[in-house]
């Protein structure tokens, strides 16, 4: 594999957020993934950052949906359609 077909730690780190959000091209995703397989330091950082994002999502998504919201919205739409 030539040097051009590998990412350095710096090139990998620059793509951290986009990689975790799957916003890179397929080639970039592959190159970052390959770097993480051989670089424990970067892998540790990426793993931690992914864990933070996952944890924040999990906590923010714990919600109660009011039982009557659906019915109230439906009633409002029926009323609006008749007016």
């Amino acid at each position: 594999m030539s040097a051009l077909s590998r990412f350095t730690c710096e090139e990998t780190f620059r793509r951290l957020d986009d990689y975790l959000d799957r916003e890179l091209t397929a080639d970039e995703m592959r190159l970052v993934g390959e770097h993480l397989e051989i670089c424990a330091a970067c892998a540790s950082e990426f793993n931690f950052e992914e864990s933070v994002l996952t944890g924040v999502k999990r906590k923010l998504r714990q919600l109660d949906l009011p039982d009557d919201l659906q019915a109230r919205v439906a009633a409002a739409l029926v009323k609006a359609s008749g007016s």
């Binding site: 916003e23 994002l53 944890g55 999502k57 906590k59 923010l60 919600l63 919205v73 739409l77 609006a80």
Partner: protein
Amino acid sequence: MTATKDIAGQGPTPVATPAQRASLGTGEFQVLLAQILPAAYGYALRLARSRADAEDLVQEAALNAFRGQRGFEAGTNFKAWYFRILTNCFWSKRRQDQRRPRSVDLDDTPDLYLYTRSAEHGLPQDGADPASLLLDRIGTGRVVEAIAQLPEEFRVASILYFMEDFTYHEIAEILGVPVGTIRSRLHRGRKMLQKTLWQGALEAGIVSAGQVEAEAEVDPPGANV
């Protein structure tokens, strides 16, 4: 009130067909809306930070969407379209509301803030889910508060990202700004969020000079804020 559950991030992305658009009646519109209502309420609640205001937002957006459904392009993302209307309703109310929460200015936050601070405090950084212990001890309430403290444009983009797993492109579509702007807001926003979370942990005594306090708050199962 239903039992606490994860109501966000898993909703379908309904797409109205051209045939539906031509004859979208109240019932058909309701079917499309019903599929995304839990997600919409979750988004609205994190935006408005009040259950009553969130319910008002969802209902107002539903009425606006129903009345303006000719503006919906068949075959496109109904959920993104409705979320854009809901966001506009929020901005409209926001402009009239002078009681805005304090926001933080943390734009100089370095990368890997929590990772670095965790290392300095001897917290685990490896394993299947290394940040879970820290976030569990920080607690849902402080996570919600940390999001709320982000400057408004970072906060709204971040809520769309964390609550619904929208792509950058979808968030850009909802907020009507370029994708590059969303990328920047999300990346900077999560750095600010990490610093705010750490500050909250310090202020609450969850982390001290050397370790995670064993007696710190831990969310009970099913906790919701």
